[in-house]
């Protein structure tokens, strides 16, 4: 039993890392643009497909495929921002919050169906990063899972370093904290919007590309993870990066262990996905700033 629990805890950790990547992207977008990107799951899905095709058709080495796919999705994000989200900031639309919700939701429908049309409904699996399994004591884990976790950690740390230490990252944070003050300091907030949306999209793509060899790739694969990311950003406090990482790990563990500890196993598995959502509902009602959130932001 303990072994099983340990294995579940480990699985929770891996899943938590993938969630964290995706939610990190979502939180980055929210903190700068003050928009919840409801198309985030589709960017994750695109990341998986691009990586898959780059590896399968063009023979890219898996890691390179992941990186290239992130770059492609970065630019897709940039295009989306320019075409559809820019009007929110130029005053071209009147009800900004609602427009932003509907337009990103609309994009998610569009992209999902486009994927269904272009890629077909079949499930696929990306080539593995590393074959075999590793045994630690009596636990055995596939190397792919280890590799994916390692890569996710690398991406996460890279993101944290870029946002925390580099000049560009500080600029992003400056815009997220005070748009007007940033403009006064000479930072072009429109460029930062682009950068944040692009980078956020690329992080979603990274999540998708990494999950490719472990789970299956299909057009609606983003539906569940995106909801997890919503849970995470609410739990962690909308726009808080630190909160986002802690919340993803909590969620990953809560789900993996929660379902095991549920007395009735079949229902336990079914209710696994509800745990996070319950968190979300309760947090929104009780403390909308989240567990680690800095402040309650609403776009004017």
């Amino acid at each position: 039993m303990t072994e099983y629990l340990l294995l579940q805890a480990l699985n929770g950790l891996i899943i938590g890392l993938i969630y964290a990547l995706m939610a990190l992207g979502l939180t980055l977008i929210f903190s700068v643009l003050k928009i919840v990107n409801f198309a985030h799951g589709e960017l994750y899905m695109l990341g998986a497909y691009f990586s898959y095709y780059l590896a399968k058709l063009f023979g890219f080495p898996p890691v390179l495929a992941v990186l290239s796919s992130m770059i492609i999705v970065f630019f897709i994000g940039v295009v989306i921002e320019v075409l559809f989200l820019r009007p929110v900031y130029t005053g071209a639309v009147e009800r900004k919050d609602e427009y932003a919700i509907l337009i990103t939701f609309g994009l998610s429908i569009f992209l999902q169906n486009l994927a269904l049309f272009v890629f077909g409904p079949w499930t696929r699996r990306s080539p593995s990063f590393m074959s075999g399994t590793t045994s630690v004591y009596s636990l055995s884990i596939s190397n792919d899972r280890l590799f994916v976790s390692a890569l996710a950690v690398v991406f996460m740390i890279a993101t944290l370093v870029i946002i925390g230490r580099t000049f560009m990252g500080k600029g992003l944070r400056a815009v997220s904290q005070d748009r007007e003050a940033a403009a006064i300091a000479g930072i072009n907030p429109f460029k930062m919007n682009l950068l944040a949306f692009g980078a956020g999209s690329a992080l979603a793509a990274a999540g998708g590309a990494l999950i490719g060899p472990i789970f299956l790739i299909f057009p609606t694969m983003g539906a569940m993870p995106v909801i997890k990311s919503f849970v995470i950003i609410v739990l962690g406090g909308m726009g808080s990066i630190k909160g986002c990482i802690i919340a993803s790990l909590i969620l990953g563990e809560a789900e993996s262990l929660g379902s095991v500890l549920f007395p009735d196993l079949t229902r336990g598995l079914a209710y696994k996905n509800a745990i996070g959502l319950l968190f979300l509902v309760v947090v929104l009602l009780v403390k909308p700033t989240g567990l680690f959130g800095e402040k309650h932001v609403r776009m004017k």
Binding site: K170, D178, E180, G186, I187
Partner: protein, 238 residues
């Protein structure tokens, strides 16, 4: 002549002009102050100069170049800095990071940035021990200093200052005014100051504009007003 605001009409609706033909100029090397009862459009004036609000008519000229309606993030490149009335630090960046952001337009030039930051620590020695502290957790007066420091990063010729001491304790306010005076007298910065704290602002002013309901009422050098401040207030109040 450094900055010239010529006959500006501006407001948030096409037919509602908070500014109704205001003309103000900030001459090089001077501290020019603009005073007037609240709501006469002093803050609106700065929003127009710094490109946050497009005027309905009128011109803004800086060093013989028209800058009417230029983006805020472009104006900072022209050597004008702006310190708005409302708190406008980045609360979750450290003091030093706040100043680095002030150097955004020359971010490639790390040497210059270091120099300017060092100069700021010399100007505001009390902040020396707080370089890693989040600006949001500083006191009100210290936050103002961080803002002034950030505005100085680009080594501007002209600084627009909007009610720098609103909500601050009198002692702190005094210190801020003496800093502004020092910037002008020692570092030769041109300052355009909009203020409600008339008595204090008067002390450091070289030239004064008085506005009333969005229009120029009177103007003149300090000597012209100093004799009887109260009579002056009475005059424009009632």
């Amino acid at each position: 002549m450094s900055l010239e605001v010529k006959d500006v009409f501006a407001g948030y609706y096409a037919d509602i002009n908070i500014l109704q033909g205001v003309s103000v100029s900030a001459e090089k090397g001077r501290i020019t102050i603009v005073i007037g009862a609240n709501g006469v459009g002093k803050s609106t004036l700065f929003k127009v100069i710094y490109g946050f609000l497009k005027p309905h008519s009128g011109k803004i000229i800086y060093n013989d170049e028209e800058i009417t309606g230029t983006n805020p993030y472009t104006i900072s490149k022209k050597g004008i800095s702006y310190i708005p009335q409302r708190r406008n630090i980045f609360p979750y960046l450290s003091v030093e990071e706040n100043w680095e952001m002030g150097a955004w337009i020359f971010r490639k030039d790390k040497k210059r940035m270091k120099q300017r930051i060092k100069a700021n620590y010399e100007r505001f020695p009390t902040l020396g021990s707080k370089r890693k502290t989040d600006a949001g957790s500083l006191s009100g007066g210290e936050q103002r200093m961080v803002e002034i420091g950030r505005a100085l990063m680009v080594d501007p010729d002209l600084i627009l200052v909007d009610e720098p001491t609103a909500g601050l304790a009198p002692v702190v306010a005094k210190e801020i005014y003496s800093k502004l005076k020092q910037l002008n007298r020692v570092e030769n910065k041109t300052i355009l100051l909009v203020d409600q704290n008339i008595r204090q602002a008067m002390k450091i002013a070289d030239y004064i504009y008085i506005l009333e309901l969005g229009k120029n009422k009177t103007q003149g050098s300090k000597a012209a007003f100093e004799t009887d401040l109260k009579a002056m207030i009475k005059d424009w109040l009632f």
